[in-house]
Structure formats: structure tokens, C-alpha cells
């Protein structure tokens, strides 16, 4: 791929990034002080991306997948000591006019409730979460990494076709073409999924 085309493609894909950059989800990991507890994970501005927010408000379920990894610093290479994954699913129930939220981890589900507004649901989702992924050894240097994927799950071609038939998309023809091209490229490169990551500071856990 040559330079001109490369720049064009980067600009095409970079457009949404620039917009998102103004207010984007942030992740924070507070490491534990001892080996008895895990890190505290906090996510904020989860629905800062207008695309995901609109989809959730339109009734498309959103999945927020968290992957927390605990790394132990080693000699030459660092070792992955453990991993913890969980999901939060948010869906708007139009009959009840409420946003339902559930947390899923290791086959267990916790219904976090239903809420009248997405903002309230977001407040509940964004509460600090104490993970059970704790360091095994005291006196050893560790750090956590956290990856979060937000995905609007039901954006299938059929759904999009339905939305289009309903006239849910507004805007000019040019903006529709631009939006369509960007959506096409994003979907080819990873779908309606937004990926964010964070890393904690290096810490030493006490027994």
C-alpha cells in the first residue's frame, strides 16, 4: 500500500478517533495493598461514544467486556499470573421503558437492576468494582492490565436494514454515504466494537 492511499485510509479511519478523543471512556485500576484482595476497577464515561449511546437508547443491547490481567514482573519476561473476565450487559426494555443491567462472571449472573434513564444505569455500571484477582506472593512486584470492549451486539445487517426502512437514520445523502463508508470500514476492521485499555502502576503486595 502506497503513501497516498495509506494516508487516505488513516484519515478515513482516524475521523471517528478524533471525535471520540474529546470525551472518551476512561479506565482506572487501583492496585491492592495486600495479597488478600484484588484490584479496584473503575470505568467512567462508558457511553461517551455517541454511536454506542444511540444504539443502546434505540434498544440494541450493549455488552461491556472487561478483561483484567495480573502480571508478575520477572527476570527477562513478565509472567501472566492470573486473569479475570466479566461482562456487563445493558439493554433498554421499551415496554417497561427502563434500562436493564446485568453483570456476568464465571457463569454467574447478577442483575444490577433496571433504571429509568441511561445516565442512572451508567452510574450503577461505573461504580468501582473490587476484583477477586489478587496477587499470590507478597514482596513481589506486580501490575494489572485492563482491557475493555464495548460492543453494540445486535447491529446485524438485518437490524440495519430495518432501521433504514423505518427511516431511523436522518441527515443528508452525503452524510449517509460518509457514515455508511465509515461504518463499513469500521465493521471490516472490527465491527461496532470500541476497545480501551489501561494499566496500573507497578506495586508490591504485602502479605
Amino acid at each position: 500500500m502506497r503513501l497516498g492511499g495509506a494516508i487516505a485510509l488513516l484519515l478515513l479511519l482516524g475521523g471517528p478517533r478524533v471525535l471520540m478523543a474529546q470525551r472518551r471512556p476512561t479506565l482506572e485500576i487501583v492496585p491492592p495493598l495486600s495479597t488478600t484482595i484484588g484490584a479496584t476497577v473503575t470505568a467512567s464515561n462508558l457511553f461517551a461514544d455517541a454511536g454506542i449511546r444511540d444504539l443502546v437508547r434505540s434498544g440494541f443491547p450493549a455488552s461491556i467486556h472487561y478483561k483484567l490481567e495480573l502480571w508478575r514482573t520477572g527476570g527477562l519476561f513478565d509472567d501472566l499470573e492470573g486473569r479475570s473476565e466479566w461482562d456487563i450487559i445493558v439493554q433498554y426494555d421499551p415496554t417497561a421503558q427502563r434500562y436493564r443491567v446485568v453483570r456476568r462472571q464465571s457463569g454467574q449472573h447478577d442483575d444490577l437492576g433496571s433504571f429509568a434513564t441511561l445516565a442512572t444505569a451508567q452510574t450503577v455500571i461505573e461504580r468501582p468494582w473490587l476484583s477477586t484477582l489478587a496477587p499470590e506472593r507478597g514482596g513481589v512486584r506486580y501490575y494489572y492490565t485492563l482491557a475493555m470492549d464495548i460492543e453494540a451486539l445486535s447491529v446485524s445487517d438485518l437490524d440495519q436494514l430495518e432501521r433504514w426502512l423505518r427511516g431511523a437514520k436522518s441527515g443528508t445523502a452525503a452524510s449517509a454515504v460518509g457514515s455508511g463508508l465509515r461504518t463499513l470500514m469500521l465493521r471490516m476492521l472490527g465491527g461496532e466494537k470500541r476497545h480501551y485499555s489501561a494499566r496500573s502502576s507497578v506495586f508490591t503486595a504485602e502479605r
Partner: protein, 573 residues
Amino acid sequence: MSIIRWSQRMALIAGVLLLVTRAMQAQQPDSAVTANVLPRDVAREVVALFNVTRGLRATDQVEIPAARTVTGDVSVLNGPITIAGHVTGRVLAINADVLLRRGARVDGDILVVGGEVEGADSASVGGEIRVYHPPLRYTQVGDQLIAQVDGGSDDQWWRRFERRGRRNFNRLDIANAGVFNRVEGLPVRIGPVLYRDQGWGHLRFGASAILRTASSFSGSQPDVGHDVQGEIRIGREYGATLGARLFDVVDGVEQWQLSNLETGLASFIFHRDYRDYYGRHGGQLRASLRATDNADLTLSYGDERWSSRTAHDPFTIFRNDLPWRVNPRVDDGRFHVANLTLRVDTRNDAFNPWAGWYLLADYERGTGGIDALAPTSVRVRVTPSGPTRYQRGFVDLRRYNRLGPTAALNLRFVLGGWLSGDALPLERRLSIDGPGTIPGFDFRVNGGTDVGTCAQGASLPGRPAQCDRISLAQLEYRSDIRISVSDGDALTRRNRFRADGAWVFFADAGRGWLVNGPGSPLNYGRTELPPLSSYRTDLGGGLDFDQIGIYLAKALSEPAEPLNVFLRVRHRF
């Protein structure tokens, strides 16, 4: 004109199918009814809050008049509670409504279970308002509440939600059937798919016609393929899969260098097709053993007819007026192909790996007859057409190592090629050429004696891969980078742009060679390896922003090669 009519027909069919599908779905009774049960977390939370309330706690209706200020929290069981005054803490209403009079003030949260909040618009609430309609089921011991929670029922909404991916379906699939390429354009698969979840596994059957935008609509000789597949999968995490397939498809000669996505994008956007293609028509049986999603062993056997395909002129976004590279001829004939493939993946993340192994090992045994040999460079092989029997191996081994919180060192080795028997047919030959291998060298432009494609002398149309064997080593050092552009002074600073990614340094070395081409300078003994000094090498670096990376690469072993700029989607390997 016929395309327009066809597209109109397809739109009509799609519309009708959509309506029929929706109508059928509407007629299917949804047996799952959402339970009107308070979430366990919430039940425990409200009981804990009620039990520790130190401000005002009541088990009957409560009214806080306008002149009154309650210091601390207010908890009411079986209320309602009417507030016109000021509560400095939280308001908790269990199985009770909360009525806020105009001017009422609550500094903390309002949490309501089994009730409703009225008048929030005309009152001042400092915290959040949470309302759960299902009532709390509880027992009372002294002044303490104990929540009665059960394990939840199977008809919760998220369980239905989770079953969506596995539920049975019969549907018409319209999807791409491969990468956009210069032979087919975009191959589109249209046909029914049946899926049945049996609990112990699943059954899946699909039958598709394959329409090719570059050739299926030509008036003289419509080119329509097919792909009929059946699969029985036993077990979910561990288990076995049995499958059968009948097909008439176009497939890539070498698919290991670039991903399908990258190949398709490069073709569609930049008019550069990094693969060669051939036709496959026949049937295949396969059986797999699976241990989680990370390891499987597959045995397959196919009876196929392989044939050459010519390039067409599909539309591309850039450089659409340029001619395509010729799709090289391959050996036409009928082959019986048995493959044993092992895949082991211990990476911590498939898309952004920081640690672990990835191994793909394939052994292939082919027999058959070649009807028409494709031309090759001089002394590449000495094989008459007719019966042939070969064995071939291919190993792609990767190791990902985290050096620290922000850095990683990744390695990849690829070895492949002829093991024994007759010379490999052109469909099974390999190359080390292009951005997926040693990007410091241009793709398919080297003349003379080329260790990338094993060509020598005059170039063949399309410059096919002709090597009997290849080896490739790739080394990559990655380190996190954050690019941030902001404006404003220290107080009003605002991010205009931010991108998280990694900068990457890499080095590659590799080449291909012959073992069945006596007399060729590219030929080595069957137990020999070419000297390291003959390998192509390059160095490079770039920025990788997860979804896409931009890189520079410079050839070391041939300094006259110009600097190359290239894009990769996701990581290089």
C-alpha cells in the same frame, strides 16, 4: 441493465424474506416471561442500608413537613413517605412510594424498592434516584430485616439474550464468500443455513450459490460457484466435529502471509492483490478433536479438481484504470488431498497478544493426476504431467513475551514446503515475498534469480510462487505510545486528539529455495539449508494503533531496494 434487474429482484426477495421472517417470529410464542423479582444485589443492599440507618427509621407512613430538617438518613418500610422538608442524608423506601413536595430537598440518594417516586422534578435531589418496581421479600427479626432471595429463575431476560447466539434458526444468508480479489471481484454467498442446537452440540447445514461480481454476470459464460456444507459438533468446550463439504470455489494459493481482511482491503482500495488464486471443485470430509477454543486437531480428506483462473477487472477505489497483475497459471488436474492440522493457541489475547504461544502445523499428502502443467522458470522442476504423489509440511510458530508493563518482544518462525515424493504442484508452492513476510522488498518485482519466489531468468506472467521450501524468521519489539494533542492553558486544557498505540521495531529474514530443481542456483539438497548470507533481510519500524498500523521497512541484504511504506491491519503477526 441485467444487473439492475437482478439487484431489484434481490431487493424484493430480501424485503419479502424480511417480512416473512418477522411475521414468523411474531407468531412464535415467547415462552419466557420476565420475572418480577428484585435483583439479589439490590435486595441485599437495601436490607443492609435499612438495618444500619441511624437517622430516621420507620415501618409505617412518614411525613416530613416543610419546616423540618432530618439530619442523616431516612429509611421507611411499608411507607409511603412524603417529604416537604430537608433530609441531609439518603432516603430509602422499601415497599413504599416516595412523594416529594415542591421545594423538598434530599442531599443524598433516593433508593426505592417496590414503589415509585413522584415529584422529583419539583424537588432538589443531590444524589441519584434509583427505583426498582419489584417489592422486597423479607422477614423481620427484631428490628433487623433479612432479605429472602432465591437463586433466580431461568427466564431472566439476559438468559434469553444469551441464548440468542445459540438458538435454532433457518435463514437465508447473504454474505461475502471470501476476499475481494482480481479473479472474482467480491464473491457473494447466497443460500439457506439451518442450525439446530441439540444441547450436546449442534447440527449445521448450509447450501449456497456463490456469485462473483467480476464474472457471474457476464453474458457469455456466467460463472457461479457453490458451497454446500454440513457439520455435526459434539460437545461445547471439548469435543469433536464431523463435517462434509461439496464446493466449487476460488481459493488462494498462499493464505498464510496476509489475513483475508488485509488482502481484500489492499485489492479493493489500492488495486494491489497480494495473492494468487486457483479454482477448487470437489468434496471434502473432515473430523476434528477440540480442546477448548485454543487447541484442535483436524483430519481432512478431499477429492478435488484444481484449475487455473484468469484475472478480471473488478472495480477498485484507487487506481481503477490500471491493469491487474496476471493471475498465474497453476497445474490443472484432479487431486486427492489428506491434511492433518494441529492448532494450539495459548496467547492471552488473539488480537493483541502479550504472552503465550501460537502454533499452526499442517501435514499434507496429495496424490492425483496433472492434466496440464503450468509453465515455471527454468530448472524449477522436472516433472511430466500425469500421476503425482507428494508430501508437504508447514509450521507457523509464534512466541509472545512481555518484557515489562509497556514492552513486548515477539518472535515468529515459519518453515514449510516439500517433504517427499514428486515435486509440489504450483498450488502448493511457497514464497517469501511482500508485506506479510519481508516488507523491505517489493512484492513480485524482483527479476533475475529471485530467492523470494524462486524464479530465475525471464519472468513468468504474474510471477507465481515457485519455491519448494521456505523459511522465515520475524522479530518484533513493541512499546506502548500515547499521542495526545491538546490546546488551552493549564486550567482550560482540552484534548483535541488522543490515540493509544505502540511503536514497533522489527527485523525479518527469510528466503525460499528448491529441492527438486537440479542445476538451478536456487537448488539445495533435501537435507540442506541455504547459507544465512543468502537470506533476504530487512529492518523497519512503525506505529500500530490496534486496528491499523503504518510502517517503514528497508531491505538490508539488497541496499538498492527503496524504502517501503506499508499498512497492516491489526498486528503484523
